[in-house]
């Protein structure tokens, strides 16, 4: 969540001198906030570009809850920030909402990790390491819990297991509480339309949850399939059955959710969390039923459906692209499969076998989904809906569909050519647009001359003053967007940011951004005056090595080549950032000093967080699976368990 507030006085006074505000901040920062920073964006020469005070918060939970917490727990801090001395908390909350601004692109290293989870897993990892070997001068394995024990025979493996279990139990409990499988989290920036399940979500769920989710997904698919068949034969009465199956799916997902509730964390916001969960579950129930019911209604309203696989490909393509834009990758898979199954059940009139029908339907969905995504990137939501809709309609063959519905069940092959040609025309137009856009960008690029290298030492000192105090650093950067008469650079920037956002939310969710593993959170915001681009990043290590890693990443060039002072690019992604010293000089020149910054885990790197999660997972799996523990050890070493074996098991942490 990024707030933008217009200051009414000179906002460069240091706010950290206000001690009441600071103690309130401490209460606020004690839970749920990963990073908080505030800084000032000064006015530019252009009169339209005013000054802003920016408050950036990366938190667990929704933005609305965060604003409420800000207004009630740290009112003096907010009053100082917005310069309204006497406002009540309700007024403050209204003010905060008024000035809230969404981010145009967000990257998270581990979407789904809450602060509590990170802290608890780190404690688990420390305990695991401490129970293994002490820090001291010992050059042997002294300190290992099994030092001096006899090698164990298979018959006493269960006794060995008890001891191991005891140790693992102790390691996995922090402050007497068991670390939950996955703390409920939803970062306020992106609101999942369907319950978000990251591609590796099963890493964080324990077995029951995992199976609940799998069953739920399978049930959705089954419900769709059965529902369609039933509807095909039984009409409106079947809608009730579909709704019932959908409800069962939702119920199983709810079971998974409740088990993952923060109750074990004794999180004070439990009620709010559960309320939100109910809202989300309700949404999902609505969606699941809507998918099935809408389909059923369509069937009933229009009459018996002919085997027009292309039309249903278009529908699936649109839905999947929409899910991708709104939610996440796995939801797309769920949706796609569900819809495909639904529609496959409606294709018995086709001469093709069932599997072929499903495959054709799914394969046909890809071009439509691609087109919708392309138009979303090019023109935003308008493009996705309108232009994408046109494409879907053409692909689906709306015209022949209407004709065909008057005849039962017979597909005229030649009619398929009409939408095919229409689709090709649209594709040619889209390709042409893309080529023209790149050509225009290249024309602008070739007219640019590289700036001479220059460093302002005073400015450099002011931004370096607060850097490298802990392992992590914050970067606040305000670049001026190049102005040209047709606004091409601004449009290019918006398109690139939409693409970056999509990639960050669907592909780069495992802790790395194009092999760079030092960024925790990063976000881009185009300021409301549409003349400046704001970048905020929280990363590990030093500024120089951070920027050096972007040397060969084309995405960085694609974004900032639209801003003044960046080294010249080549077709948007080439050159640019690889002009190393100019790129770093650009980064420093437009960097803004960060006035205040908080990190919930300032000495943890991205790798540490990942290692801690793996550790906890490994230990939990071991605990969950006692019968195979000794079997695995035996299988690995082919002998009775020895102390070295147990060492190896724990050393793998």
């Amino acid at each position: 969540m990024a707030l933008r507030l217009e200051p009414t006085r000179d906002a460069s006074e240091a706010r950290e001198d206000d001690s009441i505000a600071r103690s309130q901040l401490r209460t606020l920062l004690a839970r749920g906030i990963h990073y908080l920073s505030f800084f000032v964006v000064g006015p530019a020469e252009d009169p339209a570009c005013g000054a802003y005070v920016v408050l950036e918060i990366t938190c667990d939970g929704s933005a609305r809850t965060m604003r409420h917490r800000l207004a009630t727990e740290a009112p003096d801090f907010v009053r100082a920030l917005v310069d309204s001395g006497e406002a009540s908390p309700e007024e403050l909350e209204r003010l905060l909402r008024k000035h809230s601004h969404r981010s145009h692109a967000v990257y998270e290293a581990f979407p789904g990790h809450s602060v509590e989870q990170i802290r608890l897993e780190r404690a688990v990892r420390e305990q695991a390491r401490a129970s293994r070997v002490p820090i001291g001068g010992a050059a042997t394995g002294a300190g290992c819990p099994y030092a001096g024990k006899q090698p164990l025979s298979p018959t006493s493996a269960s006794a060995a297991w008890d001891e191991v279990r005891h140790v693992l139990d102790a390691v996995l409990a922090v402050n007497g509480e068991k670390v939950p499988a996955r703390a409920f989290v939803e970062h306020g920036r992106t609101r999942p339309f369907i319950v978000r399940w990251s591609p590796n979500g099963h890493r964080f769920c324990d077995r029951a949850n995992l199976w609940a989710r799998r069953l739920g997904g399978a049930l959705l698919v089954l419900a769709a399939f059965l529902g369609a068949r039933v509807v095909y034969h039984a009409g409106l009465r079947a809608i009730g059955l579909c709704a019932a199956l959908g409800a069962v799916h939702v119920g199983l997902t709810a079971f998974a959710w409740v088990r993952e509730s923060p109750k074990a964390l004794k999180w004070p916001g439990l009620k709010a969390v559960l309320r939100r969960a109910a809202v989300e579950l309700g949404l999902q129930a609505l969606f699941a039923s809507a998918v099935i019911c809408a389909g059923a209604l369509a069937v009933v309203a229009v009459g018996r459906l002919s085997a027009n696989a292309l039309l249903w490909s278009a529908v699936i393509g649109v839905f999947c692209a929409g899910a991708l834009i709104r939610a996440g990758l796995a939801d797309v898979a769920k949706l796609g499969l569900g819809l495909a199954a639904f529609l496959a059940a409606l294709l018995p009139a086709s001469a093709w076998p069932m599997t072929a029908s499903i495959l054709v339907t799914l394969a046909g969905a890809l071009p439509v989904a691609g087109a919708v995504l392309f138009f979303h990137i090019m023109d935003g939501p308008f493009g996705a809906v309108v232009e994408g809709g046109v494409v879907a309609a053409l692909w689906g063959g709306l015209v022949p569909f209407v004709w065909e519905s008057q005849r039962f069940g017979r597909a005229d092959p030649w009619l398929a050519w009409v939408p095919a040609i229409g689709f090709l025309v649209v594709m040619a137009w889209a390709t042409g647009r893309l080529a023209w856009w790149l050509h225009e960008v290249r024309t602008l690029e070739s007219k640019e001359t590289p700036d001479p290298l220059f460093w302002n030492l005073e400015h450099l000192s002011s931004v370096q003053k607060s850097e490298d105090i802990t392992l992590q650093n914050h970067l606040a950067h305000v670049a001026n967007i190049k102005q040209d008469p047709r606004g091409l650079r601004l449009r290019t920037l918006q398109r690139v940011l939409r693409g970056v956002n999509l990639l960050a939310r669907t592909y780069f969710t495992q802790g790395d951004l194009a092999t760079i593993r030092t960024i925790h959170f990063a976000r881009f915001v185009i300021l409301p005056d549409k003349k400046r681009l704001l970048f905020m990043g929280n990363y590990d290590g030093g500024f120089s090595s951070y920027l050096h890693e972007f040397n060969s990443v084309g995405g960085v060039t694609a974004v900032w080549s639209n801003c003044v002072g960046f080294p010249r690019s080549f077709y948007l992604v080439g050159d640019g950032a690889s002009d190393e010293q100019r790129f770093k000089a650009f980064g420093r020149r437009y960097q803004v000093p960060t006035l205040g910054w908080f990190s919930a885990y300032p000495h943890l790197g991205v790798g540490d967080i990942e290692a801690a999660t793996s550790t906890r997972e490994a230990l939990r799996r071991t605990l969950d699976d006692p019968s195979t523990f000794s079997g695995r050890m035996r299988a690995r070493f082919g002998e009775p368990l020895t102390e070295a074996d147990c060492d190896a098991a724990l050393r793998a942490l």
Binding site: A139, N551, A648, R651
Partner: protein, 480 residues
């Protein structure tokens, strides 16, 4: 193959001058810019160019005239005092202008300048390295420390006598040093003496040539003007008189080594801290006995006085430098992941085929962060080796020297480790005196953690500009 203008590059850049057995380093404050300029002009004849390298056979008469040679370098304040204009000074890279003792830089490098003996204030101006064939030549240099010498305008801040150079070079802890050095393409040295992966583009160490990123490093220059005489200074690619061409940037760090502390360490641990045995043999090619829990068996030693059996898969075992870390020691079981040579030059240890980084890519990446070392051990007051006067050359501080220092040596998360820095020279920037310091030696079946004390302290240092010979003449003539 780039062509280097060897006659314009100071000799120290291309050679450590091993034939000059005696050396002395003098650090000066300039009190009188004009006098200092005149003194430097007088010494110019002794600053040799690097073109002497291919001519290995130097005639005896020539040698008699040149019984010693100099290396001269300036700090930012030194250049200012000699009269270099502000608009030229602003074209130097910001790290040089801020200096090594700058508050932020100290955090980056893990230093505490408040505890230095010299270099922490603004008074460090001039570096003068004297390399001679014998000890007598080292006398007779301005060494007045209490006030400026009226003739030369210089006040000597500190003087350091280097240890007599012997091949192989042994540093005060007893380890052979200077084994691994990059090979500058186009320098004319015998390439067979260097590993293929050590070949580095000249722009990494000499301004005015392309570096590993195929770009020209930012070089200080004068403002463009009409009719510039090329004999005074060469022109850069965009027509501005290039003050930096054929020059380099010099990093000086004056280290004291705590030899008695270090000698308390077991031989195995000492070797694992460094990454090589005392003889210089790398641990990767000559690992200690595989199972550290088993007692050492004399019959298994490669040589009676040094443990470690040769293993030839990581290199052919011939030389002391033809080894790589990947894939045979990717887990650090032979040379610990946090060992000094592994941190200072990871070679191909950054390879990760799962993420598409092959070994060649990794070597290329590591070669973007190389430095050229030119320092020597030095003697204390009683003539006993006391530490190392570390000198290194690079053109881009933040990608080379500072990168190595911050992202490899002092990085507590280097190579997947959790909370430890280089055991030999590292200092955590969060707490430079957090000793005892943990050091993990990777082992099978489990890692072994030991704790170490501090073995090296920094007495002073600075960032210097080592100009080409034409630029040196220009600078010396500024105040004339």
């Amino acid at each position: 193959m780039p062509t280097l203008e060897l006659h314009d590059i100071q000799h120290i850049v291309l050679s450590g001058l091993p034939k000059r057995h005696y050396a002395k380093y003098l650090l000066y404050e300039i009190a009188d810019g004009e006098a200092a300029g005149a003194w430097i002009q007088a010494q110019l004849a002794h600053v040799a160019g690097a073109h002497r390298i291919p001519n290995r056979e130097v005639s005896p008469t020539d040698r008699q005239h040149r019984r010693f040679q100099l290396a001269i370098a300036f700090t930012h304040t030194g250049l200012k005092k000699l009269g270099l204009r502000e608009e030229v000074l602003q074209t130097f890279v910001p790290e040089f202008r801020q200096g090594m003792a700058d508050a932020h830089r100290a955090r980056v490098l893990g230093d505490r300048p408040a505890e230095w003996e010299w270099g922490a204030d603004d008074r460090l101006d001039l570096f003068c390295g004297i390399y001679a064939d014998d000890d007598d030549e080292l006398a007779g240099w301005p060494t007045r420390a209490d006030g400026p010498d009226p003739e030369t305008g210089l006040r000597c801040i500190t003087q350091v006598h280097a240890q007599r150079y012997k091949d192989p070079l042994i540093e005060p802890f007893g380890f052979r040093d200077g084994i691994s050095q990059p090979y500058i393409e186009g320098s004319g040295k015998d390439p067979m003496r260097f590993e293929k992966r050590d070949r580095v583009q000249p722009g990494e160490f000499i301004l005015g040539y392309e570096n590993e990123l195929k770009l020209l490093p930012a070089s200080p220059h004068l403002p463009k003007g009409p009719g510039w005489d090329r004999a005074i200074l060469p022109l850069s690619a965009d027509g501005a008189p290039d003050l930096g061409r054929n020059g380099s940037f010099l990093v000086v760090r004056h280290f004291r080594q705590h030899v008695e502390e270090f000698q308390k360490l077991d031989e195995h641990i000492a070797a694992q801290i460094v990454g090589r045995w005392r003889s210089g043999r790398p641990l990767v090619s000559f690992p200690p006995t595989v199972d550290t829990h088993k007692p050492r068996n004399g019959a298994r030693h490669h040589t009676p006085d040094e443990p470690g059996e040769p293993v030839h898969d990581a290199g052919n075992g011939r030389g002391y430098n033809d080894f790589t870390f990947y894939p045979h020691d990717a887990a650090g079981l032979r040379c610990p992941l946090g060992a000094h040579i592994r941190r200072a030059n990871p070679r191909d240890a950054l390879a990760n085929p799962k993420e598409g980084i092959s070994e060649e890519d990794a070597i290329k990446l590591a070669n973007q962060h190389r430095i050229l070392r030119r320092g020597r051990p030095y003697l204390g007051k009683d003539g006993v080796p006391e530490g190392i006067f570390f000198m290194c050359l690079n053109t881009n501080f933040d990608r080379q020297f500072e990168f190595i220092q911050q992202t490899w040596i002092n990085n507590p998360k280097f190579s997947g480790l959790t909370d430890e820095v280089d055991p030999l020279v590292g200092s955590s920037r969060f707490d430079p005196y957090r000793h005892p310091m943990p050091f993990t030696r990777q082992g099978c079946p489990q890692n072994v953690e030991t704790s170490l004390s501090k073995y090296v302290s920094l007495r002073g240092g600075g960032y210097f500009f080592l100009p080409g010979l034409k630029a040196l003449r220009y600078i010396a003539n500024l105040s004339a």
